[in-house]
Amino acid sequence: MRVPLSWLREYVDVDLSPEALAERLTLLGMEVKGIERRGDDWRDVVVGELLAVEPHPNADRLSLTRVRVDGGGGVLSIVCGATNIAPGQRVPVALPGAMLPGERRIERTTKMGVVSEGMLCSGDELRLTTDAEGILILPAGTPLGARLADVYGDVVLDVDVKPNRGDALSLLGLAREVAAATGAMVRWPAIDVAESGDEAASHLVVEVEDPALCPRFVGRWMDGVAIGPSPLDVQLRLMAAGMRPISNVVDASNYVMLELGKPIHTFDAAAVAGGRLIVRHARAGERLETLDHVVRELTTDTLLIADRTGPLAIAGVMGGAASEVGEGTTAIVIESAIFDPVSIRRTGQRYGLRSEASLRFEKGQEHRLARLGADRTAQLIAAWAGGRVARGVVDTDPVEPPPRRVPFRPSRVGRLLGVDVTADEQQALLARVGIATEGAVAGDLVPIARSSDLMALDAVSAAAALVAIVPGHRRDIAIETDLIEEVARVRGYETIPGERPASSMPGYRPDPRRGLDDLRELLAGRGLDEVVTHALIGPEDHGRLGLAADDPATIRVANPVSLEHSQLRRSLLPGLLRVLIENEHQRRHDVALFEVGSIHRFRDGAPVESLVLGILLAGDWVPGAWDQAARGAEMADVVGLLAWLVDRAGAGRLVAETTASLPTVEHPGRTALLRLVSSGAEVGRAGELDPRLLAAVDARASRAAFATVDVAALLGAVPAVRRLVPLARVPAVERDLAVVVGDDVPAGAVEAVIRDAAGPMLRDVRLFDRYRGAPLGAEESSLAYRLRLQAGRTLTDAEIEAIVAGVVTALGERLGARLRS
């Protein structure tokens, strides 16, 4: 809400500087987001008086004026193109050297052979009004020679009114807040309508079909109205408050909305058939051209203002073009109604129409404002546009409801805030925001969590309790805690001291991120960079992983910010690839990335979220140096990295198994399934990406190693407690063993047989050499393993030889391997 201070001061005295006022309002919960000084961007613009307006000697469309710009003899010759000027008028004059909004500099110039000593300004050039055609004609009493900023400059506060305080979306509402902060009095405008002639009821009938959606409708009738511009000061106020002046009648309704917070609509009475307004739901197939000249198909839950021929306006949201007040209008109907907030909100959202009016209706309206708004609007139209206000009003619910009574226990204030505030002080604080209080009696019902959640006071507690009598505009105050907040707010949050909690502690709970953080530290320690990428990716990203755009397991956003970010990721790979290519664009080709993040999918219609570790290595993995060649990342790097990670994390041994690769995503010959030996669980996949995937994302790299790991499966295999394996006193024995196997036998199988056949004395087995070539067969390789054997005692040569012989036999029998001679 934009609040021009000059306007605010009509309703409350403000002795503070704008900055001090802004701080007081902010500390009261009415946060001032900005302070704008209107006129700050005018320099050397003064009030002048036109002495003469004569034709320009060399140009038909220009005039040559003589302008007095001070009380003395200073007279300037200024060339002007506007046609609305005449001698005797007071006008804004930009002197030579002046500065106008937009850093526009005015100099002494020559126009068509005649010297012009400055410029006469339009309202638009000063950003005061929207009129760019004519010169801004100032009221006759404007002091001659004064700086325009001293006369029309203003300070505008931008106040962030929270959604629960619709009552403060008005100058009077904010004046009430200023009064609460400073103790000043609020001055209401004198609302005084001069009625004459016949009764409004003889011209206007209002029929509300569903009073639940329109609890009150106040109508007034006026005729003899002359449409024209509003007075200049009214236009300036509306502009400063952020509204465009349109005409005296429309401006009056906007003025009342800003002043009282009451949205008003005016109809051209000639367009209301039979003078009968009907508030009803739209019927199937009905259409309405709204003020923005869009023809809208109306849905049947739309509340309308209609006449017997059809819709006139969407109630509370936007008027219709056909009944709009315009140049030819002479008779008008003023609508000052109250609508159901939810209905207005839904309608505004359905049609994508959120107006200043609908935003106020959505937050609820004080009952009495319907009548006050109608009267104030009629008063202002009569003042600005002339005409007659018919006698009386048409009012569907003239009886003011009684104020809400909210019993509360002052003792709860100290209990919740942690600072003692006496009941007397609470009463005084509430009085500052217009909330009267009186003693409670036994049986009074204290609303606890909502207005229907009531707790009856017994005689003892009632003796210490109070009843708040809440003024109609404070629709946000309904339960006891609302009053506690109000006490705290008016007293000032700054009066609440900081204390460290001294209450009981919750029981121990393991940090769910602990194991995860260990993994992150380990990977960063190994030289990988942690990244965080978007959880929302696009169908194209999923498409490259072989997931169709309409894959039923993909979780899609109904109202995405963009197609690129419209689906919850089912893999971390697209995000990691994006980081790769973005870095390649910066000529950073060597990337080693990891991310820990959630992936999502539907399973049986329910969303499932799983935490995944993703790794991507591209470019050099072993960095080059002055005496060391760089080496690019390959599958074995990522497999080794993960085996180390899993071991360090405490989840034991990881094995890579052959698996079918995901076509065009994973390298068909370089993709493995990762399995934890301890739990037997599949924990992920590792290998290299299919070069076609890299090409599809325009990566410069033609090789990239990747891994994806199910974090829950990995951390689930970490034992809660590690138990030490006793250390043997005698050293371990090492034996080397080289076997020749065919290419159909994976090394993983060889190692598995060795581990199985060697028995419990085998501590470790490591492949230390792999050889292909003569004298081996073309489809054979020699695998050399170092076995580490250990028992609690010294092993004899015979025992060792027996173990090795057993391994060789098993390799021969199960895998067709032979000992390399």
Partner: protein, 351 residues
């Protein structure tokens, strides 16, 4: 063969052996000399000693003594020469191994941890000191937990505070799936799964339908805090937030506690710190107010306690929520929120 000639032979042998040892230029030559003169099997001295059987018995001890003296002399010379050669070899090696010590070391990959995640950890560490424990809650939430249980009914104007991304899926009993707009639904999950005393922290990724600019993204990160007990007060909230602000932004940094608005807290709080850019003087970063809002908080609304299965007549508590992105930006002097999800190597390697 007589004593004199054997003695002469031994003397000659001694001379030749000492000369050979002295001439040995490396270990290999030295070992050859050792074998040649004092080797147990083929050494010259052994050959001489083999011959003493031909001498008269009374001369043999005399020759034996001379031979031993020769052996000792030669072996001592060999030992000395060996030590000398080792010393020379070491000197040669050391000289050869001389390098330019100012050459850079062999590089290791640096590695880094992402500032958003590290800031989350830092926040959790600080509140962890005050007994707060971490809980996790899902990114895909229901309308009922994200809004309704938090006192934000459907069609409530406060919904304008959150531009929601909804999941394209059929509603389940009128309950729509959505991407959580804040970590606050985690409050409800914690209250429903545990009893007071509660001190919980809920970090996580959140989503809103927002246009991206230097200070907004449609994905961002929050930490929610919740404390509920019989006597938890707003003064405790202030005390704890002060501790937090001082831990993260320095002990002397002034803080400000002012009214805010959230439907799920009452009273609601906006918590400010003095601007970290201008120290309160007023600058563009703080909208010239001298203050920066770092989090929202408040006393848990009684209806939220009720929805969490907690009696608001017995228990009360506070909740707070902060944007990790914003905290990290203030902490590290990052001026564009987009850096976090872009993961430019030049950005990452500064952490």
């Amino acid at each position: 063969m007589d004593l004199a000639s054997v003695s002469a032979d031994l003397a000659a042998l001694r001379q030749r052996a000492l000369a050979a040892v002295a001439d040995a230029d490396d270990l290999k030559e030295l070992e050859a000399a050792e074998t040649a003169f004092v080797g147990r099997k083929q050494g010259a001295l052994t050959a001489v000693l083999r011959g003493i059987g031909a001498l008269p018995a009374e001369d043999r001890p005399r020759v034996g003594a001379i031979a031993n003296e020769v052996r000792e002399a030669v072996e001592e010379a060999i030992a000395e020469r060996r030590a000398r050669l080792a010393a020379i070899a070491l000197e040669v090696r050391l000289a050869a191994e001389r390098v330019d010590v100012t050459l850079p070391g062999r590089p290791l990959r640096r590695g880094s941890l992402h500032p958003l995640v590290e800031t989350t950890r830092e926040i959790a560490r600080i509140f962890g000191q005050f007994g707060f424990v971490v809980y996790e809650s899902p990114e895909v939430e229901t309308d009922s937990l994200n809004f309704q249980a938090l006192n934000i009914p459907a069609d409530h104007p406060a919904r304008d505070l959150w531009d929601t991304l909804y999941v394209d899926a059929p509603t389940n009993d009128g309950d729509r799936l959505l991407l959580r707009t804040h970590t606050s639904p985690g409050q409800m999950r914690v209250m429903r799964q545990t009893r007071p005393p509660i001190r919980a922290l809920l970090p996580g990724r959140c989503f809103r339908h927002e246009a991206v600019d230097a200070s907004h993204g449609f994905e961002f990160f929050q930490v929610e805090g919740l404390m509920v007990d019989e006597g938890t007060t707003m003064a405790h909230l202030r005390g704890l937030l002060d501790e937090f602000a001082h831990a993260l932004f320095g002990a002397g940094r002034p803080t400000r506690f002012r009214p805010g608005y959230y439907p799920f807290t009452e009273p609601s709080v906006a918590f400010d710190i003095q601007c970290v850019v201008c120290d309160g003087g007023g600058c563009p970063a703080c909208g010239r107010s001298g203050w920066m809002t770092i989090l929202g908080a408040g006393m848990v609304h009684p209806v939220v306690l009720r929805n969490g299965g907690i009696d608001p007549e017995v228990y009360q508590g506070f909740a707070f929520g902060m944007g990790i992105d914003r905290i990290a930006m203030l902490r590290y002097g990052i001026n564009d929120i987009r850096y976090f999800l872009e993961n430019d190597a030049r950005f990452l390697e500064q952490f």
